[in-house]
């Protein structure tokens, strides 16, 4: 049965409302085992002059970008070595952690670190999971397998990976990477 009603200031587009409709449905389903068909979401948009908080009208804040899309865009830019495009998606204090590294704050550091490890690497995605933290950050996990070439030119593929991203104010502020590269090499 659950019925969710969202009252929100006018100004969100169809895609943003779809994301709200899906996220609210999912939020209910994490607690209530209702079939999706039995969960209704209604979004009630309020015009600015129909809404008052503290006797004052408010402006709607622009929607945050879809965090999964943001991560996908970033990963594609990195895969193509479009470093400037990738940097544009990073927020202040961005830090990344790869297997065996400490925190790296510059994409150039990563490239340098990767150079002796593989000629190139491509991600095949198995899925994305997104969640909102208690704080301001959204979290995105993407997982799948890596393929590419070792420094000696031999190919590899099917190596499991998972990346975790924290996104604040529409920018990536943290990336954590785990994968089976070392395990694969150890078994080789």
């Amino acid at each position: 049965m659950p019925i969710v009603e969202l009252h929100v200031l006018e100004g969100y587009g169809p895609d943003e409302k779809r994301r709200l409709g899906e996220a609210l449905t999912d939020a209910v389903r994490m607690v209530v085992p209702a079939a999706p068909e039995a969960i209704t979401v209604m979004i009630h948009e309020m015009q600015e002059d129909d809404y008052y908080r503290g006797r004052s009208r408010r402006k709607p804040a622009p929607a945050l970008p879809d965090p999964c899309e943001l991560v996908r865009t970033y990963l594609e830019a990195m895969e193509r070595r479009q470093i400037e495009a990738a940097k544009a998606l990073l927020g202040d204090g961005f830090t990344m952690y790869f297997p065996g590294t400490g925190g790296m704050t510059k994409l150039e550091e990563l490239l340098e670190w990767a150079a002796p490890r593989y000629r190139f690497v491509k991600k095949t995605y198995e899925g994305f999971d997104a969640a909102q933290t208690e704080g301001d950050a959204s979290v995105v996990y993407c997982r799948g397998t890596l393929s590419g070439e070792w420094p000696d030119g031999t190919a590899f593929s099917g190596i499991r990976f998972v990346d975790r991203f924290e996104i604040t104010d529409g920018r990536i502020v943290r990336q954590d990477v785990w994968n089976d590269i070392a395990e694969t090499k150890a078994q080789a």
Copy 2:
């Protein structure tokens, strides 16, 4: 401003309502950059005789367990080698994937696999993230560091890990594990 109203059949306890209140707040915040203080959730419980779908009354389904709590309970049981308690939390078709393994379906397989790798291992948690998939499964990620003893008795600690769990109908049906054990060994 966003105000969320949830209409749901009576029968959920304070803790389950708190989970709903938090999940609905978080769902909104993934799209709308409102301060938490500006997001209100109201839960309207409906008595059974006040709600009709298709001219019929409905029974509320019991709440699903908190997936993070479920995972935490499972991981603690495994750490203490309480295999039966852990098994009770697994659903049909449970499969787990560890670095370098294919899918394993029995906890005993895991113990056998782990035996030559470490004497024991403990998890220190840095955080849990939970999300609902489009389907019936909830997903929980837990991450942190591993400590324990290698087979030769030397201690290790601070090895990053992340586990991903899929939970359906209140049971764990899949576990994926990534960590830096191989990387650590390779660097040693």
Copy 3:
């Protein structure tokens, strides 16, 4: 999708709320071709001190009886010739119209009229239909077949009938009767 919410003063019982839930569902379905499963009714009961009209609290009016039940009770009393019980269900100005009669206002008139026509008659119901008029009256139609004995003692059965009742303030104020008795006799 349609979702109906009814706000009503506290004081109606489960059966009365079920009747409201069904009537509201049916009202929607007369216009919107939604599957019953897709129509939700929520009844929100208001306590007396939570509701103000014109700055004043109000008392809930006792529910009207189910008009179909009322008619059924009346017809059963008549069939058993429990005239006083039947009379107790009639309102001021009660008038009834049978095939070939003008308006009759007393049940005794009816008995007198029927005496030369049949020894007794029983109704087998095929169905009831109830509707609310624009005015205060509810209308109930009941239809089915008549069986009984003619004055000469021969049996009859399967004669179609339909009765229409108007009910105001929980009392029957008009009855119109149509049936195929004359047609049956003419064909005999």
Copy 4:
């Protein structure tokens, strides 16, 4: 006091909303003896991108025709012997029952049956009552008096009738007719 709120997908016209407003008011009045003035109906139209069931947007189904209007149109067509126009309003499995007939499925059968009974007949309406069944069918009763000419050319009038119609998916699927023609002839 009762206040009814209907949430429905955008796409219904003023006349359809008026029918909903009236039907919902009437539904409440069949149970709660409130003065009409005290019953409020609010229709909240939802845009398609503001409504989600099972994470999906829905299309509004076109409104069903007003069943009383449909019946009136059918009866007028029949009175004018516009058989094709009348047929267009009939649904699959249409069956009609007149006094003394079994079920007839073709309008031509009816004309044949009526031919020896009257030259023509006209209906003067006293009222229509419409109700929704538990199933998909709406039911319409229309009642009044018949006038016309007997086969010998003599006129008749003032003969009571009632017709019951079942309408499914906007088409008439059943007609039941009762009247006092036989009674009138018997008394003549």
Copy 5:
């Protein structure tokens, strides 16, 4: 927390809605000591064909003028001796009471009464307070200080005053005036 929702027929402008938003916020705050920031007002405008009372559509009544603005306009007209403009704002039965006068019903009476008392007088406003009575009248109090010239041409200023106005149907029907003129003269 308090959240106020107002459902009202479409037809009120932004300024009228702002007045509603403020008045509803203030109404809550007179009872509930919530910070203004914690009080939300949502105005839901209903189109005419989405609202039914007693099965009928209704027309929205034009908004009443802001009573404080009305009083301010009246007082300014009086100060400038624009008697006709002031009269246009008075309703039937208008009566005014000044210190030591009985009820006066014509503005000319007031001018005559004032003539021997001061050459002219100006109001400096410290504030307006408006309230709705249980009946149809709104009440406005305005207070501040008077300055002007005595009949002998000497100036005065800083004399406290308060005026109370009753406004019905957008017209002033009563004015009560208190001030310290007599006290000031007595002390002089």
Copy 6:
């Protein structure tokens, strides 16, 4: 038509809800000229575990006292010279202004000031008006006539007065008094 819905945390008593019902009705009527009978207020009380702001439950704040009652209690205490009881109703920074006085902060000052002016004074109330300011203060005006005895023992009566009170956090913080005492003496 206007319908007001108030959602508020559970914890307010029947009298406090009546005050809310009246104040919300009055707030609407100051803008919309609807008959009181056409204005509905519904109060929806939320249990603490059904309401979340910023992911957190909230406690309802105790209701503010009825400001008119507070003023009436204060004025009665003053009339009976129950100074301590009156003081208990005053807030920090309390200041009062009487005709010809500057601001007085102690009730004893007032008594001293009054001593040479009248032996005693009683208030006959004609009415109270209450309003909420934009800020935290409620404002109450009470008006009527004064009666009592002059210092020489002669009686007076029928002298108009109006008092304005500001109340913050349930305590009186300011009193402004106007009356016709000086005018009356001047005319004597």
